[in-house]
């Protein structure tokens, strides 16, 4: 199968799940940051938890390689702040805007167009940014287990345990949400 077809088919499943769980809705994004509707944080923690268990088990048995992004604390933090601000203003994520348009939310189309312009502006600035203090030094590509110096079985068990903690946290958030945040549903 061609690479493009594989990407397309994976996207098909991804988009349907997102739409069916309403994770592509503006109300869910803004609701999360107003601490009124925790659907997205809960789904995120659940995915991180189950994912950590699956990915580290597959990696431990040699089925896959990890793909860790480089850690440059200054640039990642600044980018994260701008990204978070942007997410609350547009009401969508980069990976949820096409789905939002797909279910008829045309405001997300303006987000996509602006995102492409943002991508072009970033392309122009990239050489300056990459060598500036705003990007800062790259400190390798560590994972949590690397920070603790864990390897082999210890790394696997540690990562699976963190995964389980994420899953528990997701359900704790659910309890908190039901009890304190929105008594309306």
């Amino acid at each position: 199968m061609s690479t493009a077809l594989v990407a397309f088919l994976i996207g098909l499943g991804f988009g349907a799940i997102m739409q069916l769980a309403q994770l592509d809705r503006l109300a869910k994004v803004i609701g999360a940051f107003l601490l009124k509707d925790l659907t997205i944080p809960k789904a995120l923690l659940m995915a991180m938890g189950v994912g950590a268990i699956l990915i580290y088990t597959a990696e431990h048995f040699g089925l896959i390689h990890l793909h860790i992004k480089p850690f440059y604390p200054v640039g990642v933090a600044l980018g994260g702040l701008i990204f978070g601000a942007g997410m609350v203003i547009v009401g969508y994520c980069p990976g949820s805007m096409p789905e939002a348009v797909g279910e008829g939310r045309m405001d997300a189309l303006f987000g996509i167009i602006a995102g492409i312009i943002g991508g072009v502006v970033f392309t122009i600035i990239f050489p300056v940014y990459e060598s500036s203090f705003l990007h800062g030094a790259v400190i390798g590509k560590p994972t949590l287990s690397d920070l603790l110096g864990l390897k082999g079985t210890a790394k696997w068990l540690f990562s699976v345990s963190v995964g389980i903690i994420f899953i528990i946290l997701a359900f704790v958030l659910d309890k908190v949400e039901k009890k304190y945040l929105n008594r309306t549903h």
Partner: protein, 166 residues
């Protein structure tokens, strides 16, 4: 309008994890979305002679196909479940946030720009950093998630808090 989602958040989260594992196995890469935007921009404006293109062309084209799939997936699932609704302004924007219809387009534009610019500064977005990176327990991605959350909380409180009503 409090319609319940067809998929429970825990089921959706689990399925995202499974899809990411499948992507690792069959595509030897994680899921990601934000590189698609500068990729499309560079295809539309090929005049830019730049260093960035060589860094994003492989990921970018993969992510464009991925997002085309996502778009079609949402069309199919929203049609099947009869949740497709053609609007320019979500009901929530006017009813709960008490914002004007006109402002929606402006906000969508401003936010979309910041969203992709910030994601490219950090090297990933919700998909690549938070989901895929988060489940690999990558320090960079957890760090990103923390700051994205802070940025979002601050701006949500500045813009929407006063106007919000249930």
């Amino acid at each position: 309008m409090r319609d319940k989602p067809f998929l429970h958040w825990a089921v959706a989260g689990t399925l995202f994890a499974v899809i990411n594992l499948i992507t690792f196995i069959v595509a030897n890469r994680p899921i990601g979305a934000s590189t698609a935007f500068p990729y499309i921009g560079n295809v539309i404006f090929p005049v830019i002679e730049n260093e960035y293109w060589k860094e994003i062309k492989t990921s970018g084209s993969w992510e464009v196909w991925f997002l085309i799939g996502g778009f079609l997936g949402a069309i199919i699932s929203s049609t099947v479940t009869k949740t497709f609704r053609f609007t320019f302004t979500p009901v929530y924007w006017e009813k709960n946030l008490n914002m004007s219809t006109k402002s929606r387009i402006f906000f969508a534009f401003l936010g979309g720009f910041l969203l992709i610019f910030g994601a490219r500064m950090a090297g990933g977005c919700t998909s690549g950093h938070m989901f895929s990176g988060g489940m690999q327990l990558a320090v960079s991605s957890l760090w990103f998630a923390l700051f994205a959350f802070i940025g979002g909380l601050v701006v949500a409180n500045l813009i929407y808090r006063r106007r919000y009503r249930d």
